[in-house]
Symmetry: C2
Subunit: 86 residues, 2 copies
């Protein structure tokens, strides 16, 4: 079966996010004063073959641990659904 | 009310994604042969004040149109929930 895994890599809450501050400043300058905080992270969409959702989730978590995220400064979150994009 | 808006900025399907190809090559090299496609995008989390979900969604769409995404090469998607991160 084919799965679409969406991995969100975000900076840990204690880590400064200069990119987020810059985006927030830009939004304020454009008049979006209702924005109080902005955090910028990465979104990685993966098409993965596998037998079961649990198995694919384990493998994607392993990909995050071994390549996709920097454990010193980043957290990750995995969303999985059957089907893939095509 | 405070809302947490999550914006996913992804490259349009017709646009090449060299970063995604590099990540896929890295995953294959580590033995994750079940990965057939990788697309890398941005994830932007915003804390936004507003009166209604519909109103906040409209404003966040406007932020995407005016600042966050490049309409030539990128699509965006908004997920919204009440509460925010703190």
């Amino acid at each position: 079966m084919r799965f679409l895994a969406e991995v969100v890599i975000s900076l840990k809450p204690v880590v400064n996010d200069p990119q987020g501050l810059t985006v927030r400043a830009g939004l304020h300058q454009l008049g979006f004063a209702e924005v109080s905080e902005v955090r910028v992270g990465k979104h990685i969409a993966l098409e993965v073959e596998g037998d079961s959702e649990a198995g694919v989730r384990r493998r994607v978590a392993e990909m995050c641990e071994r390549l996709l995220r920097n454990p010193v400064i980043e957290d990750y979150r995995i969303e999985l659904r059957e089907g893939g994009s095509r």
